[in-house]
Structure formats: structure tokens, C-alpha cells
Symmetry: C2
Subunit: 225 residues, 2 copies
């Protein structure tokens, strides 16, 4: 359809079945047949294709570093950035409430819609087409991977998230140290006062335990947002 | 190789490059070139292929139910069960400490090794072979999907996990109720005394907040185990 020609040009992909593209662009606020199922499919395709790319491009990296690299590529902010490059917001179909509140610019809606488009391409033309799309969308980011040392750890990400929400910084407190000198276990609490939330982490070093607690807090906040 | 003939028969897959299979079977306790990178790759391939299967088999299910169905299929216990059906434990290469402590029967090692084998098949012969393997491994489970109503919620899974570890049951406590009568927010704490761990959940109902707290606890326990 004429309506989608520019978007398809930017995606470098032309749909056989444009109903799939329409479904991918339809937010749940607009109608019951929406893009949530396609998002589920696209999200897992994206995670797999990026895992494969990183596996091949970084033959020396540990599994942990591959995971962190992937998280830096497929998080909501990166997806929304790519969606904005595609001007995807212009095509998203929203309910009237979401339109009024600026939903077509909202990061979560942009990110989810891009995942749904990826899922739609997979259904429309199979795995090779879907992989080619993801590689193209991520080409620059895959060629300029961040150095491992630059990847943000959980404490940094939590701090930045809270600053973005204009909330005070989290507090960390050692609750318990147990075990013998050469095999200690630290239990650390992370408190976000504003949200009234606490998480804990346990590890062989205080620093690691703090990271665990921060990671648990990020997951908790992610679930609530 | 003769050594792997029976395993390959059970997998219904013959490796071109048997070095990949050896790597997939090598636990990190045995040597530095181990199966952790392959596990990263296999895990994401598995998640994608199962997502795709469920998407097609359950055209009426919501994204949330598809997620829950997938979690019931790709969790550690299910993977370990399939690994035992393949007698994968007989082939796992462990360090001497792990051998002594019965590592070839440990659920986490069996599950991780199976994911690594899936990753190895993907590298050995591409996506179609990998998908065929996963479909075959999961054939019965995909044909006899649990009813959505039978899927275990987070509180139930946490309880079963702790019972399996012979630990006392978790305790839930309402920390805070805020907001007006028609729009209350419950904050609930989940405490696992034995592990000295606390998580919190927040939601519009006490039951939902307990589920959130239990889910956060499961993630925390998963990270530490």
C-alpha cells in the first residue's frame, strides 16, 4: 500500500501480506487485535539473531560479556532509538487516550512496535528475511560495539534510571557477612526509598553483592513500570 | 566417533564437526574451553523456536499466556528432564571436584549442557537443523501443552523450589497500602529466612503484589544458584 511505502523503504523490506504489518503497528490501546503477540515473537527472534551475531563477532568473549553486550543492544532505549530512525512513531495506531498523551513518542511503545515489526517480517517471509532485517537495523551498532569496559553495570544503570525519574539515589547496606576469611559471603541490601522497595544480593564480594541487589532492583522496577 | 554414536542416535542428529559436540559437553569445571558460550547461543535459539511453535499452535492465546507456556517448557527442570531422557549425563565432561560431588546428575549442569548441544547443532548445520532438533526434543511436550489454568504461578513455583531445597516456606507480609479505596497500591514483602533474602512487590491487589514479590525472589534465587 501507498501508505506504507516509505516505511517499507526504510526497512528495506516489502511485505507480501500487509495485514501483518498493520497488526504489528497496532497498539493494544487501539483494538483487541493488536501487536502484543507479534512483539512476543519478534523479541525472541531479535534476542537470538543478536546472540548469534555477537557469538561470531566476539570469539574470545565470555558468555557473561556476550550477555552484557546483547543487553546493551536490545534494551528498550536502543530499540526506541532505532524505531525513531525509522520514524515508526508516525505509523503506530493508538487509541484516543494514548494519542492525546503523546503515545506515539513514548519509548516503550516505539520499542514494542519495532519488535512486533520484526515478528511480522518473520511470519511474512521466514527466518532468513527476519535475520537480514535485524542485521540491517543493527548494522552500525554491531560494527561499533561498545568496549566491554564501557558496558554499564547494574549499579550504574540503576542510578541513571533513578536520576531520569528525578528520584534520590539508592542506598546500599551490608546486612551480613558470613563464612571463613577465604570464603566469605556478603549479603547486601539495596533500598530505593521513594518507591518503598528493597532488594538483596548475595555474593563472595561486597561489590558483587551490591551489583546483584541493583540488578534485582532493576528487574523489580522494570516490572512495575 | 564411536563414542557419541548412541547419543547422536537419541538426538537424531549426526555432527559434521564433532569438536562442536565435545565443546558442548564440556563443563567449565573441566577446562577453560567449555560450553558456556554455546549455552548462551543455544538458550536463545531454544527460546525463539519455542516462541514460534507456541505462536502457531495457540493462535488465540495472549502474549502473557504464551510467555507462561514458554516458561513452563524451557525452565531448568524441563530441560534437565529432557537431558535425562537423552542420558546426557553420561557424556558430560566435568572437573574432578564436580565428578566427586555427583555433578553429572545435577539439574543445572544437565540443563545447561542440553542448551549447549542445541547451540552446537545450530553452528554445525544452521537454523533449520537446530529447529528440527528442538521440535523433536519437545515433540511430546508441545503436543500435550498444559492448560493455561494449570500453569504454575510464581508463588507456587517458589514454594516448590524451596521445598525441593528442604527449606522452610517463604513468608509474605503487607508492608504498605496506599491510595484511595478504588485505586489502592499494595506493597508486599517476601522473605526467605534461610537464605536471608527479601524482595518486594507492588500492585493493585495484595495477591498480585505477592506474585510480584515471589517472581522477584525466584529471579534472585536463580541468579545465586
Amino acid at each position: 500500500m501507498q501508505e506504507f511505502r516509505k516505511l517499507e523503504q526504510r526497512l528495506a523490506y516489502q511485505f507480501r501480506d500487509e495485514a501483518l504489518l498493520v497488526e504489528a503497528l497496532t497498539h493494544r490501546s487501539a483494538q483487541s487485535r493488536n501487536n502484543e503477540r507479534l512483539e512476543f515473537l519478534g523479541d525472541s527472534a531479535l534476542n537470538f539473531v543478536i546472540a548469534d551475531e555477537l557469538f561470531r563477532r566476539c570469539p574470545q568473549e565470555s558468555e557473561g560479556n556476550l550477555s552484557r553486550l546483547r543487553a546493551s543492544l536490545v534494551n528498550r532505549a536502543s530499540l526506541a532509538e532505532i524505531a525513531r530512525e525509522l520514524q515508526l512513531g508516525d505509523y503506530v495506531r493508538l487509541g484516543s487516550g494514548e494519542i492525546k498523551s503523546g503515545g506515539h513518542r513514548r519509548e516503550s511503545i516505539l520499542a514494542d512496535t519495532l519488535e512486533a515489526v520484526i515478528g511480522a517480517v518473520y511470519l511474512d517471509d521466514g527466518f532468513d528475511a527476519c535475520r537480514a532485517l535485524i542485521r540491517e537495523l543493527y548494522r552500525q551498532r554491531l560494527e561499533q560495539l561498545p568496549a566491554i569496559s564501557e558496558l554499564k553495570d547494574a549499579k550504574t544503570r540503576l542510578q541513571e534510571y533513578l536520576q531520569g525519574q528525578r528520584q534520590p539515589l539508592p542506598a546500599y547496606r551490608v546486612l551480613d557477612v558470613s563464612g571463613k576469611a577465604h570464603d566469605q559471603q556478603f549479603t547486601v541490601e539495596c533500598v530505593v526509598q521513594e518507591a518503598g522497595m528493597k532488594t538483596e544480593g548475595q555474593a563472595g564480594s561486597r561489590r558483587q553483592a551490591e551489583q546483584q541487589a541493583a540488578e534485582a532492583m532493576l528487574q523489580l522496577l522494570g516490572k512495575l513500570s
